[in-house]
């Protein structure tokens, strides 16, 4: 019962400050770390990421410079998450443009495996509150006013499916995949996501989980992820076309 810190360090980072910065900023933009949430101490964070305390200090300084973290002095002091209204778009655009179609397909292959299996297990294992939360997050996506809010609502839906599967490993994988996919999908106008279709698909997955229908939940989740591949491939093609013309 707490902040989402454990999942921001799923696999070891290479010990470099910029990798830690990348992980923490992703967690903030995906909504895994809540706005205003207090981060663990420098020493605890360093231990969590497996980096030297000096490296962690450097990473926190970079996050402060980006305005993602604010450090207060004194008794109730510490480092607090400050989430900007909108995540930066240009680095995401460059990342999608730089990918290959085969790389995108491979990313989505992995995501289908994780999301499909998570949905099947969720249908067999979800608690009543998991299921309620899936419907609530579906609704939240429909009403999300900004692209940044959509990133968070979409990502939290998929992570909640993984949580409902009872598998900590699948959950960690899903978090990592959301960090890669979600921004490209929701922040770039080139991806042209139809929010209503997305909401409808989430709703169907939630309903299959509630109905404890594992085969159907898996099928729906796999189709949903396949749809994301089509959108991202089309967006990638648009971006390289524009790049060639420029």
């Amino acid at each position: 019962m707490s902040g989402l810190t454990p999942l921001i360090s799923p696999s070891a980072v290479g010990g470099r400050a910029d990798e830690v910065v990348q992980r923490i900023s992703e967690a903030i933009h995906l909504g895994l770390l809540g706005d205003g949430e207090k981060l663990p101490s420098e020493v605890e964070l360093a231990a969590q990421f497996g980096v030297a305390p000096m490296t962690m200090r450097e990473a926190l300084a970079a996050l402060r410079a980006e305005g993602l973290v604010e450090t207060k002095r004194g008794r109730s002091g510490g480092s607090f998450v400050r989430r900007p209204t909108s995540p930066p778009v240009e680095p995401v655009r460059q990342r999608l443009a730089a990918m290959t179609i085969s790389g995108l397909r491979d990313l989505v292959d992995e995501h289908q495996g994780v999301a499909g299996q998570a949905a099947r297990l969720a249908a067999e294992r979800a608690s009543a509150s998991n299921a309620r939360r899936l419907f609530a997050l579906t609704e939240q996506l429909g009403g999300a006013p900004t692209p940044g809010d959509r990133v968070r609502a979409d990502c939290r839906f998929h992570i909640e499916v993984a949580v409902a599967s009872q598998s900590a490993r699948l959950t960690r994988r899903e978090v990592g995949l959301q960090a890669e996919v979600s921004g490209m999908l929701w922040l770039l106008p080139e991806s042209a996501v139809d929010v209503a279709v997305h909401v409808e698909e989430h709703h169907a997955i939630a309903a299959a989980v509630l109905a404890e229908d594992g085969a159907e939940a898996r099928r729906l989740a796999e189709n949903h992820v396949a749809g994301v591949l089509r959108l991202l491939t089309a967006a990638h093609l648009r971006l390289i076309d524009e790049g060639a013309e420029a």
């Binding site: 707490s2 605890e44 510490g78």
Partner: protein, 250 residues
């Protein structure tokens, strides 16, 4: 097989399993008693009024390695001027630190605990609650059980005292009891979830189609006896015998 013999075995084992869980609830009940002893009336409590509660939590959380979180979670507006608040500590690698969450209810990140079952069930009058195990993506450990008891002041519900228990550790202790038994045994929660079993017949975390009942057939197993754990969390112990080895209950 003898149903009576199986029932007697089930009572004995359920009692042994309970003894593993009861000390956790006793600690939460001590936190609850410390909260209830606060001199100021609920609704006007401040952080400093609850200083002794904080000391008690920090002391108790260090008593058992399975305790990864512990605290007092007040009902809305029990803390002066605060709709939501949480006096919760976490332990990680021997370090105890306070958990700070976002309670802004307009935010998509909001952690609205008043809707969580570990809060609603004690609020509805259940004396000892146990939720999970579940993947706590919002927690300090990944697979945990959240246990809770109500805190009452003059009969009025003012919040819950709770604890997060590292499931791997709990499982080890419960299995230590079960694995000594010569027959297949499974613990199932009130939400039909398999908590732990001494046999690969059941998959941990899975929800069974129905709560086990004595005499009921499940696959090629027959539940010979089903006994609630006396700790009172809604968990039941079920003993199974196969058709062939049905008379091994003594």
């Amino acid at each position: 097989m003898s149903q009576t013999a199986a029932a007697a075995q089930a009572r004995r084992i359920a009692a042994a399993l309970s003894e593993i869980l009861v000390p956790f609830y006793e600690r939460m009940e001590r936190v609850a008693a410390t909260v209830a002893a606060t001199p100021a009336p609920p609704g006007q409590w401040t952080e400093s009024d609850l200083g002794p509660v904080q000391d008690r939590i920090v002391e108790l959380i260090a008593e058992d390695d399975a305790l990864v979180g512990m605290g007092f979670v007040p009902a809305p507006l029990v803390m002066a001027g605060q709709e939501r608040a949480m006096l919760w500590w976490q332990r990680n690698d021997g370090r105890t630190s306070r958990l700070r969450l976002n309670f802004d209810r307009t935010s998509i990140d909001v952690y609205d605990y008043v809707e969580m079952e570990w809060f609603t069930q004690p609020a509805a009058g259940q004396a000892r609650v146990s939720m999970g195990p579940y993947v706590d993506y919002s927690g300090s450990e990944l697979y945990i059980v959240t246990a809770a008891v109500p805190v009452l002041v003059e009969g009025r519900f003012v919040g819950v005292a709770g604890a997060d228990l590292l499931f791997g550790e709990l499982e080890r202790r419960l299995l230590d009891v079960l694995r000594k038994e010569p027959f297949e045994a499974v613990i199932v929660s009130a939400e039909r979830r398999v908590i732990v079993a001494n046999s690969a017949r059941w998959v941990l975390g899975t929800r069974l189609a129905s709560v086990p009942a004595a005499g009921v057939v499940d696959g090629d197993a027959v539940y010979a006896a089903v006994e609630p754990l006396p700790v009172g969390t809604g968990w039941v112990l079920a003993l199974a015998g196969t058709e062939e080895s049905g008379n091994n209950f003594g």
